[in-house]
């Protein structure tokens, strides 16, 4: 029974990480804007949802959605000045934003400072997470096959040409950032109501990098890849833990080693060759219809 619970817990965490990975993939993989602060939006979602539930006794679902909306709001606010920057500069700016948020969370009274917030009710379970994953991937898919999603990819492929096609590139980048932050906020809320305790370190730079690793491992710009990457990098440390006590002790070394080997052997990620499978599906479907 205990073992069963453990597996379910791992599966639930995989689900949360999938949401994080596919949302970062929207920003970095599809739109091509490298963000090193994605966990920050997760944190904003987690703290907002938690505070609403603890202080105002707002029910779970509204807390979760409001947390995501708050994360999206911050995504927008941060996106407006920083998305004028490109490449490395944007990465550093998002990193700086993450550090600022972490320090705010560490110093505010209402967020419990470094002690964080405890006593959160345990609501998140595998079913809720599974439902959230389905909703996130479904909506993301719909966006990606639409005019909006094509614009995101066009920006990644060639920003100047995208602008010449009439795409307001700044607005679309902010839009991608905001949607990505919204999804990350959902993941944060789910996280808080799963572990029942949050502190600023849960949402720091290391978590942002972990999410980025999932996306890169799976293959940038590929939702299926992001899902696979999230699953693998969640399971791997747990698996290494269970193999033998010796390996367990050095499991993070193996984890790091695997990433290094992976980047040498297959730098484009596990699934990048099948990228844009969404489009192919949509084209086939429409090709059948367009017969008359």
């Amino acid at each position: 029974m205990k073992r069963m619970n453990y597996y379910l817990q791992v599966l639930t965490v995989i689900g949360i990480n999938i949401i994080l990975a596919v949302s970062l993939n929207l920003v970095s993989g599809f739109t091509g804007q490298l963000s090193l602060g994605h966990a920050t939006f997760m944190g904003i979602g987690a703290y907002t949802a938690t505070l609403l539930a603890l202080k105002l006794h707002v029910p779970f679902i509204p807390s979760l959605i409001f947390g995501a909306a708050m994360a999206a709001f911050f995504g927008f606010i941060i996106g407006v000045p920083t998305l004028r920057l490109k490449g490395d500069y944007l990465a550093i700016a998002t990193l700086g934003f993450g550090e600022i948020m972490k320090n705010i969370l560490l110093n505010l009274k209402i967020t419990g400072g470094p002690m964080g917030l405890r006593g959160i009710p345990k609501v998140t379970n595998i079913y809720i997470v599974a439902a959230a994953v389905v909703v996130v991937i479904f909506t993301l898919n719909r966006i990606m096959i639409s005019r909006v999603g094509k614009s995101f990819i066009a920006i990644r492929e060639d920003e100047l040409a995208a602008e010449a096609m009439g795409i307001n590139t700044t607005n679309y980048k902010i839009l991608a950032f905001t949607i990505g932050a919204f999804y990350a906020g959902i993941a944060g809320g789910l996280f808080a109501f799963l572990f029942r305790y949050i502190n600023p370190n849960n949402f720091g730079f290391m978590k942002s990098i972990e999410i980025l690793c999932m996306v890169v491992l799976g293959g940038m710009g590929n939702t299926a890849g992001a899902i696979l990457g999230a699953a693998l990098l969640t399971v791997l440390p747990e698996f290494l833990r269970s193999v033998s006590p010796l390996i367990s002790q050095y499991r993070m070394v193996f984890y790091g080693l695997l990433l290094v080997v992976m980047m040498i052997v297959r730098p484009q990620g596990l699934l990048s060759n099948t990228s844009f499978y969404f489009r192919r599906i949509s084209v086939e479907k429409n090709a059948g219809k367009g017969g008359r």
């Binding site: 719909r142 909006v148 492929e157 995208a162 949607i179 844009f276």
Partner: protein, 260 residues
Amino acid sequence: MALLEGKNLTMIFGGLAALDSVDINIEKGEVLSLIGPNGAGKTTLFNLITGVYSPTKGSISFKQKEIKNLKPYDITRMGIARTFQNIRLFGEMSVLDNVIIGQHCRTRTGVFGAILRTSAVKSEEKKVRDRAMEILNFVGLDREAEEKAKNLPYGKQRRLELARALATDPDLMLLDEPAAGMNPQETNELIGLIDRLNDMGKTVLLIEHDMKLVMGISQRIMVLDYGKKIADGPPEKIRNDEKVIRAYLGERSRKEVRAC
């Protein structure tokens, strides 16, 4: 009344005047070629018209509206489309999607529409797809619709750039060296294509080095040299213009020719 009117256009990059007080008029329905040696400021003039740069001095009006401070995407919406000298396609996207993206400024689906996929969204998508196929047909790329843009051979990539620009439904098309790197047969096809565009009522401004193409299809030619306009007129006149010959062959070579 001119479709596009640029007055006294000057563009200075860190002390160097890439364009110096250039006037340009484009009449509705004409094919105007812009020629000149490398570095004469031709592409800079394109970038001013399409809003990539804002001119240091001067004004540009399109359909009687001032456009010099507008962003490229606003200018595209007003009806100016362009192709690029160094091909800038969306390489990972299909040929069809490249043309679909071209219609971005003529469509309106937003995030919520995309998620809900209402019937209005679906019918817009169908319309956009049909129009894209029509355009691919027009440029002769319909069989490559599902191909990734980056996998097309060079000449076809150039034609796809043209198709994508055409998809924005422009009144004025700016083509930056569309025949660069093409073999004679491809160039001939391109001439036919530009002729048909012109017949459709599109006004064309063309940068080109291929003189056969330029002399063949232009109603008027404008010559730039060192950022200044040195000639403007019909092809026959340009062909025999002293200043133009000097700009292309150089002062010394002219003397050498005389000495012979």
